[in-house]
């Protein structure tokens, strides 16, 4: 609304004429950051690719394409995708309700949305298992309908919904609360129905944030281990996730096999990270346009 930027104090142009560095500590802080990053993250990660490159092509292929591993990819990808889609729908709903409506307990619920970020995954895993086990509160109810959740692929889905829940809510919420009410009023005065306004005015504005949140939830679900292994039952070919396959190989002292699967997972997560970064850049540019 009042964000007309004065070019003289625009931070982007401000930096350009101060060619000489006034502030101290550039080489120290940058040097330390790069050193620490290399020691903790980059060099150890490089170990995966170095170890993988020592395998022959057929060794690598056997490790990453054995039927049990392929079944784990299918489950991990399928469940992660469904969990992220589920969270996209309910994430927008939760964000909408929290931003637009007043009801008792709203602030408490808002604070508890981040629980999956703060609750250790192992705790989430055993709690969900206790709930959905055949004798649990929810499991016994669902059992009457013939639905088994714990120790089936459905259990994996439930755990992944839990850990991915905050992402969409937290990316969409700020965009919704910044939304200019004039846009909706204009649409309404032109005769649009409430649903049409949501579909054609609000949804396009929150779309970049929604897709970013979806991608973040999906990426998180792909690598998730702690919350899943308790509820999954870990039945070979049925309910084993890919991170568990790495652990299984390690327990058999098959370091080459574990590393090969890990390298496949790493390449996928790097690709997702690049995608998410460009999504966030897109999201940031469209939201700032939407605000003016």
């Amino acid at each position: 609304m009042n964000t007309t930027m004065n070019p003289a104090i625009n931070p982007a142009t401000f930096g350009t004429y101060s060619t000489k560095r006034v502030l101290p500590g550039f080489s120290l802080t940058l040097g330390y950051s790069v050193l620490y990053l290399s020691l903790i993250v980059l060099i150890p990660l490089a170990a995966i690719f170095l170890k993988t490159s020592q395998l022959t092509m057929s060794e690598f292929w056997d490790a990453v394409s054995s039927p049990r591993v392929v079944a784990s990819y299918q489950l991990t990808f399928g469940a992660s995708l469904f969990a992220a889609l589920f969270n996209a729908v309910f994430g927008v709903l939760l964000a909408w309700v929290l931003v637009r409506y007043q009801f008792p307990g709203r602030t408490v619920i808002d604070a508890l949305i981040d629980l999956p970020f703060a609750l250790p995954t192992a705790v989430a895993g055993i709690a969900l298992t206790a709930l959905y086990a055949p004798n649990g509160w929810l499991g016994s109810q669902l059992g009457q309908w013939g639905i088994k959740v714990a120790f089936t692929p459905l259990g994996v889905l439930v755990a992944l919904i839990f850990i991915g829940l905050p992402f969409v809510v937290r990316t969409v919420q700020p965009v919704l609360s910044d939304l200019d009410s004039e846009l909706e009023e204009a649409a309404a005065s032109l005769g649009a129905q409430r649903w049409q306004i949501f579909r054609h005015v609000i949804l396009p504005i929150i779309a970049p944030a929604l897709i970013t949140g979806f991608a973040l939830a999906f990426a998180r679900a792909l690598g998730e281990y702690g919350s899943v292994i308790f509820i999954a039952g870990n039945i070979p070919m049925v309910s084993e996730i890919t991170p568990l396959m790495i652990i299984t190989k390690l327990e058999q002292y098959d370091y080459a096999g574990a590393t090969a699967i890990a390298s496949v997972m790493l390449i996928i997560s790097f690709a997702l990270l690049l995608l998410i970064n460009s999504l966030q850049a897109w999201s940031a540019s469209t939201t700032s346009k939407g605000q003016k």
Binding site: F117, G226, P243, L274, I276
Partner: protein, 313 residues
Amino acid sequence: MSAAYILANPSINNVRIATRESNVIRVTLIALALTFFTLFLLLPLIAVFSEALRKGWEVYLAAISEAEALAAMKLTLIAAFIAVPLNLVFGVSAAWAISKFEFRGKHFLITLIDLPFSVSPVVAGLIYVLVFGAHGWFGSWLSDHDIKIIFAIPGIVLATIFVTFPFIARELIPLMQAQGKEEEEAAVVLGARGWQVFWHVTLPNIKWGLLYGVILCNARAMGEFGAVSVVSGHIRGLTNTLPLHVEILYNEYQFAAAFSVASLLALLALITLIIKAWVEHQAKANRLTEGTFAINRIGITNNEPYVGQRSKA
């Protein structure tokens, strides 16, 4: 905001109806959201505490005061006490370099800092096994010198540092970028030296974001499971952190004990969320008084608190 405006302007009363949902839809949406919230968030949380107390307080207290549980608590605290300060120093240092200076490859560096978030915890543990394990790069050298890293405390600390690596940097980078460098430059022009600038100018501006990052980093450090599980070797009383202790008890069908120890971690999570909400509130209040000045001056007016936006990097 808009509702108040519309209520004050009765002439546009028809707009008020058109930009709001009917009561039926409103109640349905709230009910749906609350059901989802209860099923997926509230019930698991309640389940932890109710399962923990299922066999009464005596079993509960025995489970959390047993020697192995205490050893696990100690190890969890040690790992967090080393990992959090190290990542704090890194976070401040990286945010200073990135927000106060222009250099090539800055965006690439930010992407690299985010890397540990997108790596599976299991892979994070595996990389240290490959470097320091018996068959790893330094494996034979370490065993010659009788140094144990994998299946010992240093491995647990390293894995914890890795998974919590980006937390503080990620909070500080967007915050310090938004604040710019004018105030620091003014301080330097007035004769302040490096540390003085940081302590008296930068730190007061970033304290809430810093605290926020530290809390989240600490919660993850104490709760990490996958990465620590790979490097720990599960030696009871020696290399078990609290989450690993929960797993062992659970797999031994000692459910009440497992949930008792788990309830400590759940309490930690709740405390984290309370402090987080308080910090967000403080940051918002701060911005409404002195903070807004610095931020508005450089042309950024956006209505949310600056903490808690993990997507702004």
